[in-house]
Subunit: 163 residues, 2 copies
DNA sequence: CGACATTAAATGTATGTACATAAATTTGCA
DNA sequence: TGCAAATTTATGTACATACATTTAATGTCG
């Protein structure tokens, strides 16, 4: 559906204004879809992403610092997301023997099993981009990269992360 | 900068996976920039959006229901955002005389002045899309609309709203 | 009229982000 | 050696989203 109809705003100042609204709207749309899907498995999107990072390390542990680095969401709070995964017995937390400041975080067998269940469900493939041709997907990548031209202000930038 | 470099992931499964990550990343990038800018004026993005809706109604009042409808963020909580604007004396809240269930919300002169200050600052124009040509902006709109093809599940969808 | 559903807004709970600060440990250098 | 700085994680606060429930007012229909 066209964005004009989607948000019931018949006109925009120009294609630029329309594009920025369309971007934010479409990403919100995607995120809500994904979040709703993950909820049926008792996970939030950030929790799922942390679990995937931990599986990538498995059987080695990860530290909170590593999670933050991989999430690329530099300012956010991995500690509390790990809290929730620990409550659900999907990860374990033990003080790192080599450096008692650090904490070793590991995915449990239950965590691995949950990831497999989710991935086997085919959830991950229904993300909207399947309606693009390969060429259109390439075009989209070019345009998005252009929008992020001139990252000039040096502030730490956000990466909400997702499959 | 290319998304590969931005998130330091050298390869993706395909252009589709890259596109979805690029979309989420780019919108997060945009939102963080905008949120940071608005913070210098003591506002969050949702607060700014509510203020703009109220200005659109001015001098008529709006109800919470109208705000929710205009925000297009159907499930979210306009009530508490109005709380914060009221604390800052940017809006007023009075029980609607015609229907004592409803609440009339109005932007104050201070609120109108703040909006003008923000808009005069030229903040709104620096949103990334200025790096696209008009034709590219049009292309982007077409691609995003395609991604939202098949809104089939009937769930209420999200619209984080912004300029 | 009066029980009951509907509507409008507010409130409660869980989760997450952003940012500042604290607490514990380790490092490094005078 | 000893103390300050750096590192690593956790905690606190403000704000927002998502969703369920509550409260008050209004509508409806027997």
């Amino acid at each position: 559906m066209r964005i004009e109809d989607e948000i019931k705003q018949p006109t925009f100042r120009d294609e630029y204004q329309k594009a920025i609204i369309n971007l934010v709207y479409t990403t919100g749309w995607l995120q809500l879809r994904q979040a709703t899907a993950f909820k049926t498995f008792g996970l939030t999107l950030p929790q799922f992403n942390i679990l995937r990072i931990l599986r990538g390390q498995h059987p080695l542990p990860a530290t909170v610092a590593l999670l933050i680095d991989r999430m690329l969401d530099k300012t956010s709070n991995a500690s509390r997301i790990v809290d929730r995964l620990e409550e659900k017995k999907l990860v374990t937390r033990t003080v790192c023997p080599a450096n008692r400041r650090a904490v070793d975080i590991r995915i449990t067998p239950a965590g691995l099993e949950l990831l497999k269940t989710i991935e086997d469900s085919g959830l991950m493939e229904k993300n909207g981009t399947q309606f693009l041709t390969p060429d259109e997907a390439r075009q989209l990548n070019v345009l998005l990269d252009k929008i992020r031209t001139e990252d000039g202000d040096g502030t730490t930038l956000h990466q909400p992360s997702c499959e």
